[in-house]
């Protein structure tokens, strides 16, 4: 037997002769947040002996001390609805804010179902025999306990426990390793009522104790204006809203490229449903799979329905532990869709049922009979497809504040059908349809490059470029040179300006000829005076950030990334590009053109990050 612990950021495994366990459970739930609290209730309802270990002093996590009142794109189905219903009824009768009702009622249900809760307690180490988890070392206010358990369910949000057991994990986006910005929810008073805010405050790597502490302190010290509108400040929520953490290398990993190619799992546990919700304004750095969707086709706020395999909860190579949180096995792009509260509650149900089946059958987690799991999840509605279509327009309001009518999206399959949509200011579905068609539509699209209609011509150039065809390259270059300001209107938020989309595609096509124009965009101090940056609401009226020149930031961030792609493909440009980067970014005065916000703020951090990205390329090129 050995104990696996984390010391100074490293996993250390130490052989031990034996351990005297002072408690024995079927399942130890590490973290009683959004998913952990649900899982504890469901596991106990399934008849298992359950211990919940929670670092704070209440249950609910993001749904309580994280301050999130309303789920993002809730869809019916699953056992969580009845549990939520209890809190809703308590809220109707007794509280101004459902958060307080969830704290009281979820805790009551866990205890009533017979599970045990240890507050202000944390898992310090994992006892293992070979590659199987057999117990945990837990610190409580009363001292240290050694708990024997058949299964550990990691609901920490960040796979702390799975990581502690030595399982492999990933973090952040491929390009620069960063996670999405975090938010900080404040509670405000409006007369007798209570409302909560939810503003992005910055970025944090929550695996780093010093960085996390600095972030927690900054987010409470920085009195952001938007965070205090519409009420009198009452309190900062104890948890900051971290959107992205470790992701396990699971038995099955859900990848966005597979989702777009409709290569879906055959063993789903539920269907995630939301947009690929990026949050950061630096979409240019999100890579090309997401970039084609969000920038190239301007479909960033379209909703996607993603079947998620139950094997995404089971870490590779280790038995006796699984995740029930956003740390499941998905790639970073899919993680942006799968992290919502409704998804996490379904993850909780699936994890609880997987653990239950493993205990009942005495088998490894990866060997549970899927047919039985499927039957359980189907009966509760957890596995029910929420919609007929895998793609939808959904939400409450359009980009201009008008009411949004949700609808299913069906992409086109005939080249001839593309022209009508390309002629509009909502060409996104046609551009994406062209990508799905491969080269089949290219001849038709080439013909449209000569159209008398400006929209058709320009959007046909996009539709060709998204499949790697550079026939429309002159049109793309012209859009960049004129800084084409038109904001397309496909989405309820995060709409792209046409000039930015052209920059993105010229980067993808590695176009040398556009390099000087791209350098001009981020180098010229007068660039910001151009009309393209005066729209005020390029990303949609509902997402205006004060003291942040978002349109300008979109152009220069896309220009930097496009130039890096071009110089990567054409090494002869690297010296010149390196010189341009140094001249533009060295003294950081460019940051002040983008935002006046502090360096640790979301916008201030993104502006400063441009320099890091540029300088990383310089180092990589040996310049």
């Amino acid at each position: 037997m050995y104990i696996s612990e984390v010391r100074n950021e490293r996993v250390i495994k130490t052989e031990i002769e034996s351990v005297v366990f002072d408690g024995q459970y079927d399942v130890l739930v590490s973290g009683l947040g959004t998913a952990g609290s649900m899982a504890a209730i469901m596991l106990a309802e399934n008849g298992l002996k359950v211990l919940g270990v929670e670092a704070f002093n209440c249950v609910g996590g993001t749904a309580t001390i994280g301050g999130l009142q309303t789920p993002y794109f809730d869809t019916p189905g699953g056992r969580y609805a009845a549990i939520d219903g209890v809190a809703k009824e308590h809220h109707r009768l007794h509280t101004r804010n459902i958060i307080e009702s969830r704290k009281l009622e979820f805790e009551r249900l866990i205890l009533q179902r017979g599970a045990q809760i240890w507050y202000e307690s944390s898992v310090l180490g994992i006892y293992m025999e070979h590659d199987t988890v057999v117990g945990a070392r837990v610190i409580t206010p009363e001292g240290i306990h050694h708990i024997k358990t058949k299964v550990i369910l990691d609901a920490t949000g960040d796979a702390y426990t799975v990581h502690m057991a030595g399982c492999a994990t990933e973090y952040g986006r491929k390009f620069d390793g960063l996670a999405q910005p975090y938010s900080m929810v404040s509670s405000l008073r409006t007369g007798t009522g209570v409302r909560t805010t939810n503003c992005d405050f910055g970025r944090v790597d929550q695996r780093d104790d010093k960085g996390l502490s600095e972030t927690l302190i900054f987010s409470r010290a920085y009195e952001m204006e938007e965070d205090r509108n519409g009420g009198r400040f009452m309190l900062h929520m104890p948890l900051i809203g971290i959107r992205e953490g470790r992701r396990i290398l699971a038995e099955e990993v859900v990848k966005l490229e597979d989702v777009f190619a409709e290569r879906y799992t055959k063993e789903p546990m539920f269907y995630a449903y939301a947009d690929l919700d990026k949050h950061g304004w630096d979409i240019a750095m999100d890579g090309t799979t997401l970039g084609d969707w969000a920038i190239g086709a301007n479909l960033g706020a379209y909703n996607v329905m993603i079947p998620v395999s139950y094997k995404a909860l089971i870490p590779k190579g280790v038995d006796g532990i699984l995740v029930a949180c956003r740390a499941l096995g998905v790639d970073r792009d899919v993680a942006t869709c799968v992290r919502t509260m409704p998804a996490m509650k379904r993850v909780a149900e699936a994890a609880a049922d997987i653990a239950t089946l493993a205990v009942r059958h005495g088998c490894a987690l990866r060997d549970i009979p899927y047919a039985e799991l499927r039957a359980m999840l189907s009966e509760s509605g957890c596995l029910k497809k929420p919609y007929d279509s895998y793609y939808r327009i959904d939400g409450w309001k359009n980009y201009d504040g008008t009411p949004l009518v949700p609808e299913n999206v069906t992409f086109m399959t005939e080249a001839e059908a593309l022209e009508a949509k390309l002629a509009t200011e909502k060409p996104g579905e046609a551009i994406w349809s062209a990508k799905r068609m491969g080269t089949m539509a290219n001849e038709t699209l080439k013909g449209l490059l000569h159209s008398a209609d400006e929209n058709t011509r320009k959007h046909a150039a996009f539709a060709l470029a998204i499949s790697g065809d550079d026939s429309g390259i002159e049109i793309l270059r012209a859009m960049v040179k004129e800084r084409d300001p038109l904001m397309l209107k496909d989405c309820r938020k995060h709409n792209q300006q046409r000039g930015c989309m052209a920059i993105y595609f010229l980067g993808r096509l590695a176009d040398v000829e556009i390099a000087d124009t791209l350098i001009e965009i981020f180098s010229d101090e007068d660039e910001i005076k151009r009309p393209a940056y005066k729209l005020a609401f390029a990303m949609g009226t509902r997402y205006k950030i004060k003291d942040f020149q978002n349109e300008y930031f979109q152009f220069i961030s896309n220009a930097v990334i496009a130039l890096i792609r071009i110089a990567d493909a054409h090494p002869q440009l690297q010296k010149k590009t390196a010189m341009a980067f140094r001249a533009a970014f060295e003294d950081e005065t460019y940051c002040k053109r983008i935002t006046q916000r502090p360096p640790m703020s979301s916008e201030g951090g993104m502006a400063r990050h441009l320099k890091k990205v540029a300088y990383a390329a310089i180092v990589r090129w040996g310049q």
């Binding site: 100074n8 101004r96 704290k103 009281l104 805790e107 944390s122 302190i217 409470r220 309190l235």
Partner: protein, 252 residues
Amino acid sequence: MNYDVIVIGATFAAAGLVQAYGDKCLVLERRPQAGYEFLNAAKFGTDYDKALASDEAKALYAKFVEKNAFDGERICLFDCAGPFYSLLEGKNVLLNMEIVSVEKIDGGFEVTAHGVSGYRTFTAKKVIDTTVHNDMVEAKTLNLLVNTDEENAAALPADLKTEKWGYEEDILIKCAVAANDGYIEARRAVAALIDTLPAEYRVAFVADCFDYEVKSGYPVEKDGIVYMPSCAYKNPLLAFDAGVLYAKGGVL
């Protein structure tokens, strides 16, 4: 990592200590918050007429005044969180750190803590614990704010301990629990109390930290560790002041 002083608990007293000690001081806190013993306990303090000795505490008082903490008849500290957290910016403060052990070693102490980066071990000549321990507690309550939109609402049950702190719409109810009770017992007591409220009342906020009444005799030094429970002070400014003064003069 070596420090002159390790302070346990990111309390108001700790903020005073770290202001005066500076870089040679490390604050370790198990919660993701600071100043919770007042701000998150809905414990707004008394004795604000008592003079503050340090310039640092006087400056903090001025910021509280700017935040309208003492505007009107009621004291309300909620909006003082920003200025308080500002005091901790740039200081050695680690939140989310569970204290696993404090061992005496030659020349001081070795403190082992566990957080998001795993175990960390620190050494210091001195340890000052500003948190409260069960054996220090005389009494404790879990506080909640309730209010009503009804002008002619029924009176609250007479046996409830209520006070007028916080926002003017609110009534602060102190739900008493036994000194050894944990948050589960306290929250069950709060839930039972809520059931007794007249139907027109609604709960606006339940504190996430106990409001402690500490036995007399603190601060005190025992086995080389200074115990200075921040919540033992009548208000957060006095706790902060005590921290600054101790760090400057070493006198309890």
